[in-house]
């Protein structure tokens, strides 16, 4: 997955700067909200249940304040990334027990014609495992700051 290709998936209308839920289900609900608002899904039920089933098998937090909830679902017709920031941090059952402040929600249809879903998942995990980029991303409060930081980090 090339950096430029990945960067093309981030959108301002798919950025939630103020996640204030305090449960896994609440956070997933707020992350899915922009999909509904932008008519990218018809209703939230199926996608939320599929995401929750995935979390029940083990948190998608990779520790160090980051989580990457993800699933394939028939509810969407393209690969979509929603970025969410929780300024206060949320208990997301992270392996290191730390609260999560930065979420990357990644959803993809079962038929993902370009086969970008798994490469995107892998790439995001790789990016946030870089201590410098992760620390900078965790400081971001707006979409502009976020995308600029990411572009810089990937340069």
């Amino acid at each position: 997955m090339q950096n430029q290709l990945l960067l093309g998936y981030f959108r301002e209308h798919l950025f939630v700067a103020d996640i204030d839920a305090d449960t896994t289900a609440g956070v997933l609900g707020q992350l899915v909200e922009p999909l509904l608002k932008n008519s990218l899904i018809k209703n939230k039920t199926i996608i939320l249940e599929t995401l929750q089933k995935r979390e029940a098998l083990g948190s998608t937090s990779i520790g160090r304040n980051i989580a990457v909830p993800h699933c394939r679902t028939l509810a969407v017709s393209e690969v979509i990334i929603v970025v969410g920031i929780s300024p206060g941090g949320v208990d997301f059952n992270a392996p290191d027990g730390e609260p999560v402040n930065l979420f990357f929600l990644i959803v993809a249809p079962p038929q993902d014609t370009h086969n970008h879903y798994l490469p995107i998942l892998g790439k995001i995990v790789e990016i946030v495992r870089n201590d410098d980029i992760r620390a900078s991303l965790l400081q971001c409060g707006t979409y502009g700051e976020f995308i600029e930081t990411l572009e810089e980090g990937l340069r």
Binding site: T45, I46, K53, L57, T73, P109, P110, Q111, L118, V125
Partner: protein, 114 residues
């Protein structure tokens, strides 16, 4: 399961079956997410099998023998499994929970996502 149509249950069924397949895949496991209790997912799949009308489940399994993903989303009246255009009248019929609509070209069960 309450409040969901048979088609929605079937959609969820395919989502979970695919999740199970991918979580068993080495390439997916290699990304590094923690996964425990896969048996919990198997139980959820079995629960859906019990909630589904046997006729619907049989249709799904019959198509699954030929197509890796038996349900295809339909967007703007196009089957995203094979890109065949679907008659506009199908959409209204799909809302009625008494029948499953299949694509005449690829045979997949159709699910309108818009």
């Amino acid at each position: 399961m309450a409040g969901k149509s048979q088609l929605e249950l079937l959609v969820q069924y395919q989502d979970l079956v695919l999740m199970l397949q991918e979580l068993r895949d080495e390439a997916v496991r290699g990304i590094g997410f923690q996964v425990e209790n896969l048996s919990r997912l198997e139980e959820a799949i079995q629960e859906l099998e019990r909630a589904l009308h046997p006729r619907y489940l049989r249709t799904f399994q019959r198509i699954a023998a030929r197509q890796h993903r038996p349900i295809a989303p339909v967007s703007r009246d196009v089957c995203l499994g094979c890109f065949a255009r679907q008659p506009t009248s199908y959409k209204a019929r799909a809302w009625d929970d008494s029948e499953l609509i299949t694509c005449e070209q690829c045979g997949r069960i159709l699910y309108w996502i818009d």
